[in-house]
């Protein structure tokens, strides 16, 4: 029994490590995003789509000149994020969110989420 439990724990660990690996496959991270650059944006969450093959946010981001532009933030598949324990219920439309990640290649105002900071300071990483 102890051996079975040990095996189960080992498999769980392997599975968690698997989830920790880059989760965004459908659009392929290196093909679609520039991993050599880190960017951070802060804005108001206007849409959160928890879907496969990749989830996404839309954020209204205020620029220095006072105008507002929309950013599209892409993420991994919702199945993967659920398995990783990413707390999707914490994202509320209308809340201010800060997102850090990699910018899209040849696509303006798009990025891949690596870290999200909610208005209460909670930091979430998929």
């Amino acid at each position: 029994m102890a051996a079975i439990l040990k095996m189960h724990r080992w498999l769980s660990l392997v599975s968690l490590l698997a989830i920790a690996a880059p989760a965004f496959a459908h659009h392929s991270v290196p093909v679609n995003f520039d991993q050599s650059k880190d960017i951070t944006i802060t804005g108001t969450l206007t849409e959160a789509k928890w879907i496969n093959p990749h989830s996404r946010f839309r954020l209204d981001v205020k620029q220095d000149d006072g105008t507002t532009v929309e950013w599209l933030v892409e993420m991994g598949a919702v199945n993967t994020m659920r398995r990783a324990g990413f707390d999707i219920d914490k994202f509320v439309i209308g809340d201010t969110v800060t997102i850090s990640g990699w910018p899209g290649r040849d696509r303006n105002r798009t990025m891949l989420l690596r870290t999200a900071v909610l208005k209460d300071g909670t930091r979430l990483t998929p």
Partner: protein, 222 residues
Amino acid sequence: MRKISVFLIGLLYCATAAHAQRPDLSGNWILNGGKTTFAEWHLTADGERRFKAYDFKKDDPALKCIGTSWTRVWLNPNVVVRITQGDDFVRLQYEWMDIDRRIPIVDPTASNAKRGNITGMPGLGYSAAWYDGNTLVIDTNNIEPGYVSTMQEWAGLPQSRMMRTIERISLANANLLDIQITHVDPANYRDPLVVNITYPRTTFELMNYGCNPEDASVVEPR
């Protein structure tokens, strides 16, 4: 061409169905993003042209929720693959795109062996399977042109209607699958393209994927 034919015949017919040694591949497996290797590929002039012309924003069939090439299907990380083995079939349920692959077990030397396909995904061709000692062999032909991979530096590697794909699946140990995929496609490659992938066993369950083409396409900010 002759070299490729000899290779293919060797790959297919060195096999003898060995039911008694059939490996137990049943269970749930997941790609951990770790060990994937593409052997060096040697494209023909036509293959090179197709590879260079690939545009990830519009050519990826996954943008329409369609799987192309078994290599691409196996390469998706962090989604479960469930394997079930029966006496006359093997079933591989891929979470990615909800691909449910039921393949008849056949005698590889028989002509006109029964084959299984995935409705709506012609790039995945028609497959038949058998056991070669401790290895499950899956042979796929009648493949629609498309791409072997749409990911990483392999994005855009082409496949033609001439392609034949042979997957050899075995256990590296009780908790690790070894998958070797050989693509033979003289229209695009001067030598067979060989891909090796390992899949650890997982305790995660298979989940519904529910891909919708409207959501899968490349979306831009408004």
